[in-house]
Amino acid sequence: MSLPILTIVTFLPLAGAIWLLFINGEKQEKIKRIALVIAIGDFILSLPLFFKFRLDTSEFQFVEKVSWIKEFGISYYVGIDGISLFLFLLTSFLTLICILASWNIKDRIKEYMIAMLVLETGMLGVFVSLDLFLFYVFWELMLIPMYLIIGVWGGPRRIYATIKFFIYTMAGSVLMLVAIIVIYFMNQKATGEYTFDLLKIYNLDIPMGAQFWLFLAFFFAFAIKVPMFPFHTWLPDAHVEAPTAGSVILAGVLLKMGTYGFVRFSLPMFPYASHQFVPLIAWLAIAGIIYGALVAMVQEDLKKLVAYSSVSHLGFVMLGIFVFNIQGMEGGILQMINHGLSTGALFLLVGMIYERRHTRMIADFGGLTKKMPIFAIFFMIITLSSIGLPGLNGFVGEFLVLVGVFKSNVVYAVLAATGVVLSACYMLWMFQRVMFNKLTNPENKKLKDIDKREWALLLPITILVFWIGIYPKPLISRMDASVNHLLNQVDEKYKVTLNRLKIEKKEVEYAVKEEKSAEHTIEVD
C-alpha cells in the first residue's frame, strides 16, 4: 500500500477540526454539515481497511513508519492487526453516528464539533499506534476533548463528573507513563538502543520482579478505563452527565481502550505477570459482572442503569481476555465491538426520549410503546442484543467468552454465566417499566415517534447487530491469525520464564545440597 491510509483516516478529523476553526460560529447548519461530511468521509475511507485486510498473516498491516524524534528513538509508527482493526472501524463508525446524534445541540455547536473531531483523531490514534510514546500521546489527546464534551455540554452535575473522570483516568495513565519510561530504559540496557518501538519491546525479556510492578502500573491505567470493579465509580457519574453523543463515545470506544490496552500491551509485554494476576483479575471481573448487574437492576435513572450494565459487560470481556485461549480472546474482542454497538445504541435511545421529555427517570415513563411503536421495536432489538439473545450480536461474543472461560476454569464460567440470567432481569424490567404498562403520565401522551434522522442513527446499528449475530465469520476470521499469534507469543515467553524459574530453583536446590554435603564432609572429618 503506497497510500498512507491509516494516517489519512486518523488525521482527517483533525484537519476537519482545523477547518471548522475558521468558520463563523453563527453558521450552525454549515458547521454541522461540514462535520458530518468529514465523519462520513472518514468512515468511508476506513472501509478499505476491512476489505483489503489480509487474513493469512498475523503481522501488522498498512504499516507506516517515520522517525519523529530521532534522539529519543520516538517514531511515528502505525499499523493495524486483527485485534485493532474492528475497534478502529467501530470508532470511525460511532463518531459518525455521534455527530449525527448531536444535530440538536444549539449551544456552541462549533466548539462541540471541533471537540468531537479531535476526539476521533485521538481515539483512532490509540488503536493504530505501534510506538509506546505515540500511543501515550494519543491516549492523553483523547482525554481532553472528552473532558470538554462532558464538562461543557453535560448535565447539571457535569463539573463534578468531569473532574472525577479526568482525575481518575489521569491517575492511572501517569502510572502507565512511568512504566513506559522504565521499559524504555530497560530496553536500552538490554539492547543498547533507545526506542519506543512496540514490536522491538515485545522481544524484551523483563525480569519477573519488574514484570510484576510494571504490570501493576499498566493494570491501573487500563482497569480504570475499562472500568473494572472496584474502579468503576467514575463511569455512572460521567455517563449520567455526559450529552448523548458523549455517552455513546464513552461507552462505545473509550471503555474499549482499557481492554484493548490489556490485549496489546499488558499480555505480550508481561506474560509472566499476566499469568500470575489471572486469579485477581478473574475474580474482579466476575465481581464486576454480578455486581454491575445487581446494581443496574435497582437504578432509577436510565443512563445509570446502562452505565452499570457496561460494568457487567466489560467484566465478560476482561474474563475472556485473561483465560489465554482463542475462544476467550476472540469472544472478548467481539464482545468489545458488540458492547460498543449495543450500549452505544442504548445510550442513543435513552438520549432520544431524554430529548423529548427532559427526564431519564424510569418512573416518569411507562407505556411508551403506544405512542412510539417504531422506537419500541428498535429499543427491543437493542435490549435483546444487550441481553445476549442468540441470533443477535451479544450472544456470539458472550458465548465464546464463556466457552473460553469454561475451558480454563469451570467455577469462573458458572459464576460468569449467572450474569446471563441477571442481565435479562435488569434489562427486561427496565424495558417493561419504560415501554409497557398503561400510559399514565400525561406528559408522555404528547410524545412523537422517531424521525428520519433517528432512523438513520438506529438502522445501521441494528443491521450490524443482526449481521454479527447471524454471520460473525467475516469478523472472527480476520481476528484469527492475530489472536493466535498473540497467544503463541504470550505462551512462549511465559514458558521461557517458567523454565528459567525452574532452572534457578534447581540451582538453588543444588547449591543447598552442595552446602549440606560440604557440611557433612566436614563433620565426617
Binding site: K164, I167, Y168, P230, H232, T233, W234, Y291, L294, V295, M297, V298, Q299, N325, I326, Q327, E330, G331, G367, T369, K370, L384, L389, P390, G391, F395, V396, F399, L400, L402, V403, F406, K407, A413, V414, A417, T418, V420, V421, A424, C425, L428, W429, Q432, M435, F436, N437, K438, L439, I470, Y471, P472, K473, I476, S477, D480
Partner: protein, 647 residues
Amino acid sequence: MPYFFGCSYLDLIGYVLLFPLAGTVINGFLGKKLNKAIVGIVGCTAIGLSFIVSFFVFIDLLKLAPEHRVFEKDYFTWIGSGAFEAIAGLQVDPLSVIMILVVSGVGFLIHVYSVGYMHDDDGFYRYFTYLNLFTFSMLLLVLANNFLLMFIGWEGVGLCSYLLIGFWFEKKSASDAGMKAFIVNRVGDFGFILAIMLIFVTFNTIDFTDVFHAAPEHLQTGSFIATMITLLLFVGAVGKSAQIPLYTWLPDAMEGPTPVSALIHAATMVTAGVYMVVRCNVLYTLSPFSLTVVAVIGGATALFAATIGLAQNDIKRVLAYSTVSQIGYMFLACGVGAYITGIFHLVTHAFFKALLFLGSGSVIHGLGGEQDMRKMGGLKKYMPTTHTTFLIGTLAIAGIPPFAGFFSKDEILLDAFTKGSLLLWGLGAFAALLTAFYMFRLLFMTFYGKSNMTKHVEEHVHESPMSILIPLLVLALLSILGGFIGFPTASAINSFLAPVIGGGHHSMADGGNLHHVSNSLMFSMMGISTGIAIVGILLAYLMYIKQPDLPAKIVGKFKLIYKIIYNKYYVDEIYDATIVKPTVKTSFILWKIVDVKIIDGFVNAVARIVELKSEVLKLFQTGYVRNYALSILLGGVIIIVCSLVLL
C-alpha cells in the same frame, strides 16, 4: 413448481424455515400498511406452505430405509473460533420430522383460528409477526443439527413467548407475566448453556451426530460428566417445559391471547424440553441417576400441578395446570427410558390440548372475554359445536378409549410400571384420576348445569365464526384418531422413531418399548387406567351435576387444604419472599451502601484528603498580585544569599 423437480424434497428442508421467516419479515415491515385480511393470509400461508413442505419431507424420509433416515444439510459456519465450531445446519430424522409436522400442522390451524379470534385487535399485524417468528424459531429448534443452533431456537421461542404473553402490554399483569416467563426461562437457559459448554469441552464438538456417536465411547455409564451434562440440560428443559420448580411462569402466561396459549403454552414450545431430552437420549441413557431425576420430577409435577388444577376457577388456568401436569407425564416417560412414549404423548397432547385451549378461546370469545368458570354454565345450547369438540378434547385428556390421550397416557403408565417403579406408577395414576376429575369439572361448570352468566353477557352469547370452528373440528378429528399411530400392538410411531433412540448403537428392539410386555399385563393396565378415568369423571359428575352443593361442603370441611391448593401452595409468594425480594434488597444495599458509600466514598475521601492538604497550601495563594511579587523578591533574596554563602 418445476424448480423442485428432480431433487429430493429433503433438500428443501430450508424452506420449512424460510416461509415463516418470510411471513415475519413481510408482516413485520409492511403489516402496518396492509389491511388485516392480507396480513392474515400472509401469516397463514407462510405456515401452510411450511406444513406442505414438511409433509413432503416426511414422505421422502419414509422412502428411505429406517436406519438411513438421517439427512443433514449444512448452510454456513455460524461461529467458528479455534476448535469451536457451530454450523448453521439442519438435521432431518424421524424425530424432527414428527416435530415439524406437529408444529407446522397445529401451528397452521392455530393461525387460521387466530384470524377470527384476533380480528378486532389493533395489534393484528404485530400478532401475526410474532406468531410467524415463533413458528420459525420452533422449527429451527427442532431442526437444528447442533446444540448451539438449537439454543437459538430455544431462546427464540422464549422471546416470542415473552412478546406474546405481553401482547396486551398495557395490562400490567400481562407485561409482568411476560417478563416472568422470560426470566424464569433464562434460569433454565443458564443450565442449558453450561451444558453446551461442558459438551464442547468433553467432546470437542457440539454437533448432535458427532456427540451422540462419541458419547458411549467417551463416557462410562453413570460417569460424573454424563450426569452433569444431562442434569444441566434438564435444568434447561425444566425451565422451558415448566416443571417443578420452575413451572410458575406457565399459569401466568395465560395473560396472552388464547390462541397463543394454545400454540406456545400447550402444544409446542413447552414441550421443547421433552424434545430435547429425547434428542439427547443417548446421553441420558448413560446416566441412570439423571433419568431417575427426570422421572421423579416429571411424576411429581404431574401430580402436583393436577392438585392445583382442582381448585382453579379461571378456565385457562385450569388448562395451564393441566398442561404442566401432562408435560410431567412426558418427562415421566422419558425418565423411565420410554422416550418414544414421551414423544407419542407430546403429539397427542398437542392435538387435544390445542383443541381444549382453542375451545376455551371460543367460549371466551363468545362470552366477550369472560374467563371465570363460575360465571359460565349451560353453554351447551348456545355453542353446540364448541361443546362437542370440547367434549372430545376432554375425553381425550381424561384417557377414555379410543381417544388419543388414552393410548399415550396408558402407555406411559404401563412403562412407569414395568420400567420404573410402583411409586412412579402411583404418581401417574393418581394424577390421571385428578386429571379426569378437574377436566370434567371444567366441562360441567362451563357447558352444563344452569347458567351463571350475567344478563348482559347472556344476551350476547353466540357461537363462534367458521374460522374458529374449522380448526376446532380438525383438531377434534385428530384428537380422536391421533392415538392410533401408537396403537399398542402395531405402533407405527414406535417403529418410525426407533432409529433415533440409542443413536443406532442400541438394538432396535430397545426402542420398541412394548415388545417385552406380555399382552395380559398390557390389557389389564389399560383396564385399570380406563377405570381410573371413569372414576374421576363420575366423581366430577356427582359433584358438579348431581349435587352442585357438594363441592362447597367439601371445601368447608377441608378449609386449610383448599386454601393452600387454591393459592397454588403459595409457591409464587415463597419465591417472591426468598429469591426476588432478597435479590432486590441486596442490590439496593450494594448500590446505596457499597457503591455510593464505600467505593465512591473512598474515592471521594482521597479527593477530600488532597483538598485538605491543599487548604493548607492555599494559604500561600492569596490571590493578591503584590503578595506574589513579594515571593519573587523573597526568591531573589534567597538566590543572592545562597550564591554569597556558597561561592
